[in-house]
């Protein structure tokens, strides 16, 4: 306790504790349960391949959300941002006939612009991030309907569709792109001064400002990156489906939030982090998949993701109070060590 570096075995034990990697343990339980329940389908390699492929987009989106949440900005428009990206890139390719890199570049730019508007609403107009992005999400849904005429945009070029379907070593390209995005975001958040400032802004905006952090810039920057990554996730969705679907966006909102919050309880002791979030995406997806294979009704994913979000946030809160209780307990021990004792019952017990 007094040493700055606890012994190795203690550190390994702490790293393997339930509090640190609960999602891994939950995954093991889910895995064993469904292996026994529906072994024929659950244990097939194709099931797993399909799940890893299909969840890559959710993981990209959740990683983007981690940036915003780390700066304590709730981006509730993230589902609609994905939807806009999906429709916009299709519209640019099919209706405008733009080249693939140009269409993707423009889509990312629009995603960044949406994030910029979100950020300015929060830091300049001083609207709470919750409300600002909630309003923005409705505006974006309207834009999606307007651009797409509420119709699926079909006839995407083959080259673009390859982006979502090319297989490397048995997994599709989006999985690798997701890992690349996660790697970059992890590096920036945890290994650069910029990331340190994002966490400081999210942790205590007043203290960060007084320490010379440009907190408005950090908040806007976080939302711009988040919007851009959401638009990129939208491109991946369209490439994978082979069509621009105007209804797809909102369904991604809740899984992204559940994963980011569950992820925050992993590895970094309550801090939003990239790898915890990626793990959480797949743990939740495994649960949903297992239930589906076991013949659960179609509304199960909604129920599962909603319950997971509440559980994850509850867990994070519990953890916060638990560590606080730990600190109090230490203080009390210290107090007793100094020769205090149980106070007299007459003292303050009768006041009030």
């Amino acid at each position: 306790m007094e040493a700055s570096h606890p012994p190795l075995h203690r550190r390994i034990l702490a790293a393997l504790s339930f509090r640190n990697i609960s999602a891994i343990y939950i995954f093991v339980v889910i895995f064993i349960t469904f292996s026994l329940w529906v072994p024929d389908t659950f244990l097939k390699l194709d099931t797993w391949k399909a799940m890893i492929d299909s969840q890559a987009v959710t993981a990209v989106l959740a990683v983007g959300l981690v940036i915003a949440l780390s700066a304590r900005a709730f981006d509730l428009a993230i589902g609609a941002e994905l939807g806009l990206g999906a429709v916009l890139v299709s519209w640019l390719l099919v209706n405008k006939g733009l080249a693939i890199p140009v269409a993707i570049g423009l889509t990312l730019l629009v995603g960044a612009l949406v994030g910029l508007v979100n950020g300015l609403l929060i830091v300049r107009v001083k609207i709470d991030s919750f409300i600002a992005t909630l309003g923005m999400s409705s505006v974006l849904l309207a834009m999606i309907a307007w651009v797409s005429d509420s119709q699926q945009i079909l006839g995407l070029p083959d080259g673009f569709q390859k982006l979502g379907t090319t297989e490397i070593l048995g997994l599709t390209l989006p999985v690798y792109l997701m890992l690349a995005v996660a790697l970059v975001v992890w590096y920036v958040l945890e290994r650069t001064p910029a990331g340190r400032r994002v966490y400081a802004t999210g942790g205590n905006i007043d203290a960060a400002r007084l320490a010379g952090v440009r907190v408005s810039l950090v908040t806007v920057g976080a939302l711009v990156s988040c919007g851009m990554i959401a638009a990129f996730a939208g491109c991946l969705v369209s490439a994978n489906l082979g069509a621009g679907d105007p209804t797809i966006g909102p369904a991604y909102l809740l899984p992204a939030f559940s994963s980011a919050f569950l992820g925050s309880t992993q590895f970094r002791g309550g801090r939003f982090n990239v790898w915890g979030t990626v793990v959480a995406v797949y743990v939740l997806a495994t649960g949903v998949k297992g239930l589906q294979l076991a013949g659960a009704p179609v509304w199960i994913p909604d129920l599962f993701n909603g319950a997971a979000l509440l559980l994850a946030v509850g867990l994070a809160k519990y953890e916060a109070t638990a560590s606080r209780a730990g600190a109090v307990a230490r203080l009390l021990r210290l107090d007793r060590g100094r020769g205090g004792g149980m106070p007299g019952a007459t003292a303050a017990g009768s006041a009030r």
Binding site: R197, N204, A211, P343, A347, R352
Partner: protein
């Protein structure tokens, strides 16, 4: 006059600090008692023990007297912030504390409630619209609402009202209205304990004063047996030989910071000159403007500086925190939890936050090894305990948190170090360590400005102290004539707008 509340031999020990030591006192019916003493003398500890926030040490006794009918005295507390909901009206605020019972879901009897509220307020000399949100009322009116709420629904006459610095936020004209209300409370048979730093008000209002110093009861004297100077002497203590904590070269040459015409919400105007290696204090009671000086200079609070020079170079625009830091100014705020530290982050991350550029490694990343080595060095230099830089700073004691906050600024080699209440909530051991760090910074050439309500500390640490009163400079004391007593006397000075004639009005009994 029957006795309502008595404390006997109340002590309270915190780790490393005896906050109260065998204090005995009582309050009678219809009596207004002033509780006086400097910051950290134990006043608030005593109030918190009465309120049940703290438990007193074993052997302490708090006795709430009973009358013949068996009614125990009830205590009512009004804290400085009053505890009102600003967006609700007087009527609604008065209703908040009342038990609902069956009427909880019935429509509120609007007219009856309004009449009742108006009667209640009028009883304490209030005459204002009870339907507007209380945040739109004057400060004295809000205090009256709080008093009315505390005393609303007395089912028996045995009550003691405790007011913690009720006049700190009031203009002198409003003080009179509040005093009328307090006298009315006493006239109805309650006991009143009130805490104030403004001695002229105490002399005007109190039937008896109780003075605490360093946790010990110094005096318990009746009205008329003391005057202003007596109180100052009792509060500050006799002027003894004060050990000089450290020696500095006398201030000379061009000041490192020179600010003329500092103005803020509570500062009317103030000039500050700070030389290299000099430790200057700003002292004053709450509301004197003292608590805003450093914030305005650092650009952390709204306000303005008419003419600002750093190292003789005029600064045209008003500084914000970022520009101030870039120009070598550091600011240690009073509220560590809200402004001083990011509690969820580790000591290491807090320590390096203001200056990360020097830790840059390859690919724009932070060099972990460089950062850990530098942090380990600072942890050793400030004597952090436990010496665990990876622990969240929120889990450290107040004193150790403050060491980290100080270290994070000293790491920048500041030219100017601004501090608000640097030892607030800090235990004795850490206090010494913090003063040592301040002395080291000054010796290294920084100009240090300490804004504090603790006159004793300022008199020990500073070369020169500016005393503020009601937003302006009330006096300056420098070595060797610098003493705790002189600072207290100057900061408690009678305000010029309080006509002495008013002080003589006896309290109606």
């Amino acid at each position: 006059m029957s006795r309502l509340l008595e404390v006997r031999g109340v002590s309270k020990t915190f780790p490393g600090l005896k906050a109260l030591d065998g204090v005995s006192a009582q309050v009678g019916s219809g009596e207004i008692v002033a509780l006086l003493g400097q910051n950290g003398c134990g006043k608030s500890t005593l109030v918190k023990i009465l309120a049940g926030v703290y438990q007193a040490d074993p052997g302490s006794e708090v006795v709430l007297a009973k009358d013949e009918a068996g009614n125990e005295t009830s205590l009512h507390f009004i804290h400085q912030d009053l505890g009102l909901v600003g967006s609700l009206s007087t009527i609604e605020n008065l209703d908040l504390g009342r038990p609902l019972g069956r009427r909880g879901l019935l429509p509120a009897p609007v007219r009856a409630e309004r009449r009742r509220a108006e009667e209640l307020i009028a009883g304490f000399g209030g005459d204002f619209d009870v339907t507007v949100p209380v945040e739109q009322l004057a400060a004295a009116e809000r205090t009256i609402v709080a008093i009315a709420r505390a005393l609303d629904g007395w089912d028996h006459p045995r009550n003691v009202l405790v007011l913690d610095e009720p006049t700190a936020a009031l203009h002198s004209a409003e003080v009179d209205r509040l005093f009328a209300a307090i006298r009315e409370v006493a006239r109805r048979g309650a006991g009143v304990i009130f805490i104030s730093h403004r001695l002229d008000e105490v002399i005007e209002l109190a039937d008896r004063v109780i003075v605490l110093r360093d946790g010990v009861l110094i005096a318990d004297i009746e009205r008329g047996a003391y005057d202003h100077d007596d109180l100052v002497r009792l509060i500050a203590g006799e002027v003894g030989s004060i050990a000089v904590a450290h020696e500095h070269a006398p201030a000379s040459g061009r000041p490192v910071l020179s600010a003329k015409g500092i103005a803020g919400r509570t500062i009317e105007t103030l000039d500050v000159d700070l030389h290299r290696g000099e430790v200057v204090g700003v002292c004053g009671v709450l509301g004197s403007g003292r608590e805003e000086v450093a914030r305005v200079l650092f650009g952390a609070a709204p306000g303005s500086v008419a003419e600002l020079r750093l190292d003789g170079e005029p600064i045209a625009s008003r500084l914000g925190p970022r520009e101030a830091i870039a120009r070598g100014i550091a600011y240690v705020p009073a509220d560590r939890h809200r402004e001083g530290a990011v509690l969820t982050m580790s000591v290491r991350e807090n320590l390096t936050l203001p200056r990360l550029a020097s830790l840059r490694g390859r690919l724009g990343s932070l060099s972990g090894a460089k950062e850990r080595a530098e942090v380990a060095d600072w942890v050793a230099r400030v004597g952090l305990r436990p010496a665990e830089p990876e622990r969240p700073i929120g889990l450290f004691s107040g004193g150790n948190q403050q060491k980290v906050v100080l270290a994070k600024w000293l790491r920048n080699d500041p030219k100017v170090l601004l501090m608000d209440e640097p030892t607030q909530g800090v235990d004795v051991g850490a206090k010494a360590a913090i003063f040592e760090l301040i002395a080291t910074a000054a010796a290294a050439g920084a100009g240090v400005l300490i804004c504090s309500s603790d006159a004793k500390e300022l008199s020990l640490v500073c070369d020169r102290v500016l005393v503020m009163c009601d937003g302006v400079l009330a006096g300056t004391a420098s070595r060797p004539s610098l003493s705790e007593a002189s600072l207290v006397a100057a900061s408690l000075g009678t305000r010029p707008d309080q006509a002495p004639a008013k002080g003589g009005v006896p309290h109606g009994s």
